[in-house]
C-alpha cells in the first residue's frame, strides 16, 4: 500500500510542489508526494494530513517579495490532492513580526484549503509583541485552559499540539514550561503504548542547533513521556528547512517554510532569511504532506518544493 519506494522517494524530491502528504494506516506514518497520492488509490483505512509552517505573512525580502502569493500557490497544490487531507496543521509563525492584518490574511487563505479543519500552534513571531493575546483570542478556544496547547484523536492516532514560544525568553530558546509538561504526561497516561502519537510544535523539540536557539530547553522532558510509545512522530517548523532524525521509536522532522529558507546550521554567521534570488528560494520552500498507510513500513519522509 505504501507506494513510496526509493525511486519514488527521489522522484518526489524533484516534484514541483511543496507539499508532503502524511498517511496513517495501521498506525505507521508514511509519506508520499502530492503527485503520488493523486495517482494512488484511496488509502484504505488510512488518512492524510498536511503540515504547513512558517508562512511569515508580511515578510518581504530578496528571497520572496510576496509570502502570501507562495502560500496561495501551495494551497492550490494541496487542493489538488485526492483524497483531500483530513486536516491541516500549521506549526507556527503565521505572521512575520505580527504585522497588522497578517493573521487575517492567513485565516482567509487557509479557508481556501479543502479540508475538515486547520489546527494551529503559535510561533514566536505570532506572540512576541503581545505575549500571545491576539493569537490566543483567535486560536485559544478549545485548547487547554485557552493557553494554546491541545490534543485530539483521529482514526486511532493521538495528536498533540504543544506551545513552546510563550516562555521565549532568557537564553533565546524555546520552552514548554512545567504546566504544559505535566498536562502532557496526564494526557498520554491513558493511552496504550501501541497508540501512534504525533506531536507538533513550532520550535524543534530536539537540539537542532542550540547556538542559534534551535532547541526547546525542556523538550527532553516532553520526549521522556513519549518513550514508551511504539510510534512517535515529532513535527516542527521554525528552522525553515528539512531536518530529520530517528531516535528509537521517535522520528523527528522539521518542515520547510512556505515563505523563505534559512541557512543550514552554522553555514552563515547568523540565522534569518537567506538572501538569494526568488527562483532559487522556490526550490527551498514548501510544505509537508503526511500519509498513514497500513502495513507497518517505517516512516518515509518526503519533502517537495515549490519551484
Amino acid at each position: 500500500m505504501d507506494r513510496v519506494d526509493r525511486r519514488g522517494f527521489l522522484e518526489c524530491m524533484a516534484w514541483a510542489g511543496s507539499a508532503l502528504v502524511w498517511t496513517s494506516a495501521g498506525g505507521v506514518l508514511s509519506s508520499r508526494t502530492v503527485q503520488q497520492v493523486e495517482a494512488a488509490d484511496s488509502p484504505a483505512a488510512g488518512f492524510s494530513f498536511v503540515q504547513i509552517s512558517d508562512t511569515h505573512i508580511g515578510f518581504k525580502g530578496q528571497a520572496n517579495g510576496d509570502a502570501a502569493a507562495t502560500l496561495r500557490e501551495l494551497i492550490d497544490r494541496v487542493n489538488a490532492l485526492r483524497p483531500a487531507p483530513a486536516f491541516v496543521i500549521h506549526t507556527g509563525d503565521q505572521t512575520h513580526g505580527q504585522k497588522p492584518g497578517a493573521f487575517d490574511t492567513v485565516a482567509e487563505l487557509l479557508k481556501g484549503v479543502r479540508t475538515e479543519r486547520v489546527v494551529y500552534v503559535p510561533g514566536e513571531h505570532d506572540v512576541f509583541l503581545d505575549g500571545g493575546k491576539e493569537y490566543l483570542a483567535r486560536y485559544g478556544k478549545g485548547t487547554v485552559g485557552e493557553r494554546g496547547w491541545q490534543s485530539f484523536d483521529y482514526r486511532g492516532t493521538h495528536f498533540v499540539g504543544l506551545v513552546n514560544v510563550l516562555k521565549y525568553k532568557g537564553e533565546g530558546i524555546g520552552a514548554l514550561g512545567q504546566d504544559q509538561i505535566e498536562w502532557l504526561e496526564k494526557d498520554l497516561a491513558p493511552l496504550t503504548s501501541s497508540t501512534p502519537v504525533v506531536v507538533f510544535a513550532h520550535i524543534p523539540l530536539w537540539a537542532v542547533y542550540p547556538q542559534w536557539g534551535w532547541v526547546t530547553e525542556d523538550g527532553e522532558r516532553a520526549l521522556a513521556s513519549l518513550k514508551r510509545f511504539g510510534s512517535v512522530t515529532v513535527l516542527n517548523g521554525h528552522i525553515h528547512q528539512v531536518m530529520t532524525k530517528v531516535e528509537g521509536n521517535v522520528r523527528f522532522h522539521t518542515a520547510m517554510s512556505t515563505a523563505f529558507p534559512q541557512p543550514a546550521p552554522g553555514a552563515a554567521p547568523a540565522p534569518g532569511p537567506m538572501k538569494i534570488p526568488e527562483a532559487d528560494a522556490r526550490r527551498m520552500i514548501g510544505v509537508a504532506e503526511v500519509t498513514f498507510v497500513p502495513g507497518g513500513q517505517p516512516l518515509a519522509i518526503v519533502d517537495s518544493v515549490l519551484g
Binding site: G213, A268, A270, P271
Partner: protein, 106 residues
C-alpha cells in the same frame, strides 16, 4: 566668559576620549546578522539613540526592565529612544533573546 570656555573645552575632551557617542546628542546602533553594534554604547544624558535594522528578519529593541521597547522592526526600519537619565540600560531582541546589548548613560 572664561568659565564657559573652560566648560566647553572640558566637554570637548570628554567627546574626544570617550568611546562611541559620548558627548553627542545623537547616536546609532546598527543591527546586522543578529547582533547589536556597538554592544555597549556610552552616551551622555539627553542623547537620542537610533537603532537601524539591516537584517531581513524582524528584531526588537526591548528593555530588560520594560523602560523602553520598539515593537517589531522590519528590514531598514528604525527606532529612536532618548535617554534623559543616567544609568545602564540593558536590552535584548524579544524574538531572538540571545541578542543582548547595553546603553550606558553618563
Amino acid at each position: 566668559m572664561k568659565t564657559v570656555a573652560f566648560a566647553v573645552l572640558g566637554l570637548a575632551l570628554v567627546v574626544a576620549s570617550a568611546a562611541h557617542a559620548l558627548g553627542s546628542s545623537a547616536a546609532g546602533v546598527e543591527i546586522k546578522e543578529f547582533t547589536f553594534a556597538p554592544a555597549a554604547l556610552e552616551i551622555r544624558q539627553g542623547t537620542t539613540v537610533t537603532w537601524t535594522n539591516h537584517d531581513e528578519e524582524t528584531h526588537t529593541i526591548t528593555s530588560t526592565t520594560g523602560a523602553f521597547g520598539s515593537g517589531g522592526l522590519g528590514n531598514d526600519e528604525t527606532f529612536a529612544q532618548t535617554f534623559s537619565r543616567r544609568g545602564t540600560y540593558e536590552y535584548f531582541c524579544a524574538l531572538h533573546p540571545r541578542m543582548r546589548a547595553t546603553v550606558v548613560v553618563k
